[in-house]
Symmetry: none
Subunit: 140 residues, 2 copies
DNA sequence: ATTGCTATGTATAAATT
DNA sequence: TAATTTATACATAGCAA
């Protein structure tokens, strides 16, 4: 819609991309406001630029939370439950990572090593010797 | 944008309102898709007609949940209930713990020790020597 | 109600400042 | 680099089927 026709594909020139983003973002926000007023619609529009900057519009007659509740009811798509599950599984994942590191730390400090086999002990010893050497070089 | 200019105020004729809604809704959805592709933007757009019908578009590179999370982070506006807040803060807490352990592990392996002061290095050396001793006792 | 048409108003790509 | 201008492409209001 300008001096030249453009293909709808990623604008490679980053400066042009940024300018186009800014203009079109304003255009969409305006359209969202207009349909809200003209047609009694309720709109939630959230845009993130590649840069991370955010712009949003929520029709004044409602709230984002209300829209999301209706979205959930209408589409049947889970938002909150899924979110909970995601958070829980992330906690699980991090806790496992955590436990692993805790065990490794204890081993490096010479604790709980009864369960280790010979090979594991050798590896541990080597790691410790390497660590000591690094530190002594640093102190020297 | 048509045969005549219109004021941006509620269209009183309900049939016209419906037609305009349908056309403009398509227009906005198209624009949302375009800015997504042209500018690497991430868009979440949810529209409810007065009739209750819903239409939505979420940029394919993301999810509504992800957008809402970023919205929450960016705007500071609460969307999630207390439970979410709790889960989030637990994740934060564990991640911090995690980071701390990771640093400690690296130090025990003799990595990233340039930032340590003399006293810290001495403590580290002692810990490593103790660890080594425990392991050698075990091997003996 | 939905679709297609088309004259006209808008949005905007490129140029300019 | 950012704001302004302008020519052009696009979106759409009113109409018709």
């Amino acid at each position: 819609m300008g001096r030249g026709k453009i293909e709808i594909k990623r604008i490679e020139n980053s400066s042009n991309r940024q300018v186009t983003y800014s203009k079109r973002k304003n255009g969409i926000l305006k359209k969202a406001k207009e349909i809200t007023v003209l047609c009694d619609a309720q709109v939630s529009l959230i845009i993130f630029a590649a840069s991370g900057k955010m712009h949003d519009y929520i029709s004044p007659s409602t709230t984002l939370i209300d829209i999301l509740e209706r979205y959930h009811k209408t589409s049947g798509k889970r938002l909150w439950d899924a979110k909970h599950e995601n958070l829980n599984s992330e906690i699980e994942r991090i806790k496992k990572e955590n436990d692993g590191m805790q065990i490794e730390l204890r081993h490096l400090k010479g604790e709980d090593i009864n369960s280790l086999n010979y090979k594991e002990l050798m590896g541990l010893e080597e790691a410790l010797e390497n660590g000591l050497q690094s530190i002594r070089e640093k102190q020297a």
